[in-house]
């Protein structure tokens, strides 16, 4: 029971026999991974010096696109592809604004979030069938109820995070392109002097961000839920933003940060089943409080990419 010592309230009043660690872990993994795809995308974008508040809208619109594609009969992987294309398209729009028109990144993000919220709501209201796209959700490679504990009977989309994170770590930390991304985020003037096109590299990074956020969107509307509902992301994109800072802009740590949030979200969801006698609203706030505490305890000494949120303009 050591794992629960960290939460004194839970320890005070809960029914130990109802605790199912495997179920908790499974839920934590599911909820954490959902955010992790998006957070990895945001990591690439921020490493290139673009803080993308619009990630919430990219996440939401690609979740919607996945459901629409599945509804049109393109199948699960067609849905995944549609979500990735949609994520990249929205990111290309953001890139047009922040790279070409040098728009303020935070203002742009806000606008994108509002527009995508409006459009996806209108879409799902005119096609209510998107709420539940029958028989088109992602499969589990290992069925439930077999010899494997719940922790490992996840859907394919959950397992997918492992290769995705590994590839992204390699690309960002071990390839020339990764070095370029980091250099346009840290010292764009130097990168420019060395012959790199700062905005081209930033554009590529933003497209990759859209691709990854699109995976997250598909994992949400086809994996976690059986379809798209109004504003179904409801702040998870923002949590991904938090995870990037929590993970200090390093891919592996960012994924761990997402799992940390997922664990607390799972804890708060299971608390009542364990007989925890606390007001549900306070229990629901636990993941956010945990995030805030963790940030204020562990954050000291981490610095964001130096050119974050600054448009690049060559000095004349």
């Amino acid at each position: 029971m050591n794992a629960f010592m960290i939460h004194p309230f839970v320890l005070a009043a809960f029914d130990a026999s109802a605790v199912n660690l495997s179920k908790l872990g499974g839920q934590a993994l599911r909820l954490g991974v959902l955010i992790a795809f998006v957070a990895l995308g945001e990591t690439v974008s921020q490493r290139a010096g673009v803080i993308n508040i619009g990630i919430e809208g990219v996440f939401l619109s690609s979740a919607c696109a996945a459901a629409v594609a599945a509804y049109l009969g393109w199948g699960v992987w067609g849905g995944f592809a549609a979500a990735m294309v949609c994520g990249m398209a929205v990111m290309a729009l953001i890139a047009l604004l922040v790279l070409v028109l040098k728009a303020d990144q935070i203002v742009t993000g806000f606008g994108v979030n509002l527009v995508t919220l409006g459009i996806t709501t209108i879409v799902v209201k005119s096609v209510p069938e998107l709420n539940s796209v029958d028989g088109l959700t992602i499969k589990r490679p290992f069925g439930r109820g077999g010899w494997l504990p719940d922790l490992f009977t996840q859907k394919v989309s959950v397992f997918l995070i492992v290769p995705v994170a590994a590839v992204l770590w390699f690309v960002l930390m071990r390839t020339t392109w990764g070095l370029r991304v980091k250099s346009v985020g840290e010292a764009p003037a130097a990168a420019d002097a060395a012959g790199l096109s700062v905005n081209r590299v930033r554009f590529q990074a933003m497209l990759l961000c859209g691709l990854l956020a699109g995976m997250g969107g598909a994992a949400l509307s086809l994996g976690q839920a059986p379809g798209f509902t109004e504003n179904m992301v409801s702040g998870r994109g923002f949590i991904a933003l938090v995870a990037v800072i929590f993970g200090r802009w390093k891919p592996v740590q960012v994924v761990l940060g997402c799992l940390f949030f997922g664990l607390f979200e799972a804890l708060s969801l299971q608390a009542s089943a364990w007989g925890v006698d606390l007001p549900s609203q306070l229990v629901n706030a636990v993941p956010y409080v945990a995030c805030l505490l963790a940030l204020s305890i562990f954050l000291k000494g981490s610095t964001p990419p130096a050119a974050m949120a600054k448009p690049f303009e060559r000095k004349r």
Binding site: L101, K102, I106, V107, F110, L114, L117, L292, L295
Partner: protein, 355 residues
């Protein structure tokens, strides 16, 4: 002369952005096969078509304006706070609690105490983020985001708990605020619900402009935003100023919550003001962080919000269209910032050449 030429150009660009928002909105309506003209007239009827509609526009604008002032105040101090949503809800909750606790006092007192309570409540919610920034180096964008969620849960908890604000067993909500705790109706006897909050919001906007631009504390705030290193050299404590700036910013958000609760809703319900915080920040953004431009900008967004109510009823267009129009206006404002800077520069160059 230069000023007026620039003013005309920036006004033209802003109006162009607004027109862009409505064009996108019209396209979305047209794609759905709904009547564009009828939708626009429903929107206008809902925002300006009657005494009630105008009142609705004004009261919504007041809430947005207060939020925008709070956001701009923090921005001037170099802090990007997107915590208005939480500050508004916590502030409105505290305002209601203060007004309810003092409800037996003579007439204007409970309302005044309620407003103060709301300012302090929202202020504390903002100051937490300022403190975390000052002491622990936590990015304000992130802490205010998280505090939004926590604040909303706090409101739900307070109105669901008998020992706090819950009234009755039917639904989780607070008691109704008595007449003594309400903000005065400005036009009693009419259908217009316009209340004192509207005047307060404009007064606060002007006051914030004055403080920022004409007083020493305001100068310190701006110095903090423009050059924190220099500010600390000349003896402005960056740490304590961050906390104070966030207190004022959050307090304004709290007043926005009070305007909703003490001015129109009269009781706290779960998520009573969801969306106002982000819409208010949007107002600040299209006003380009200028408190005085936020006054017309809040009117515009207030009108779109108020008009959205009739969209669904009259032409069966989802009022999610409101988000599309508002978002497009914001994107246009963001995208034209460079254009605006260029025209001002060109004008300046031309006039310099002519002189």
């Amino acid at each position: 002369m230069r000023l007026s030429a620039n003013a005309v150009r920036s006004a033209a660009i802003s109006l162009g952005g607004i027109a862009f928002g409505f064009v996108i909105g019209g396209l979305v309506v047209a794609i759905q096969g709904k009547p564009v003209g009828a939708s626009l007239s429903a929107l206008i009827e809902g925002s300006f078509g009657s005494e009630f509609a105008v009142g609705n526009t004004l009261t919504k604008a007041a809430v947005l304006l207060l939020v925008a002032c709070g956001y701009i105040f923090a921005t001037k101090g170099g802090l990007v706070s997107i915590g208005a949503e939480g500050q508004l809800h916590v502030g409105g909750l505290c305002g209601a609690a203060a007004a309810l606790a003092t409800t037996d006092l003579p007439s204007p007192l409970p309302a005044i105490i309620g407003l103060l309570g709301g300012f302090v409540g929202g202020g504390i919610w903002g100051a937490i983020a300022g403190w975390l920034r000052a002491k622990r180096g936590v990015n304000v964008v992130i802490s205010t985001l998280l505090l939004n969620y926590i604040g909303l849960r706090l409101v739900e908890f307070a109105i669901d708990s008998k020992s706090l604000l819950r009234d009755g067993d039917a639904e989780p909500q607070s008691a109704r605020i008595a007449q003594s705790g309400r903000l005065w109706r400005l036009l009693p006897g009419t259908t217009s619900t316009v209340h004192l909050g509207v005047i307060l919001a404009v007064l606060f906007a002007v006051a914030i402009w004055f403080v920022l631009n004409r007083t020493v504390p305001g100068f310190r705030v701006r110095m903090l935003g423009l050059n924190p290193a220099m500010a600390s050299r000349v003896g402005v404590s960056v740490q304590s100023m961050s906390v104070r700036v966030m207190f004022v910013s959050g307090g304004l958000g709290g007043l926005a919550g009070c305007s909703l609760i003490l001015g129109e809703q009269f009781r706290v319900t779960p998520g009573y003001g969801v969306g106002f915080g982000f819409a208010g920040i949007a107002v600040a953004l299209i006003a380009r962080a200028n408190v005085l431009s936020a006054i017309p900008a809040s009117m515009l967004f207030g009108a779109i919000l108020a008009g959205g109510n009739l969209l669904e009823a009259k032409v069966q267009v989802s009022n999610a269209l409101v988000s599309v129009i508002q978002g497009s206006i914001i994107l246009a404002a963001a995208g034209t910032a460079l254009l605006l800077a260029r025209t001002t520069r060109v004008v300046a160059d031309l006039e310099e050449a002519a002189a």
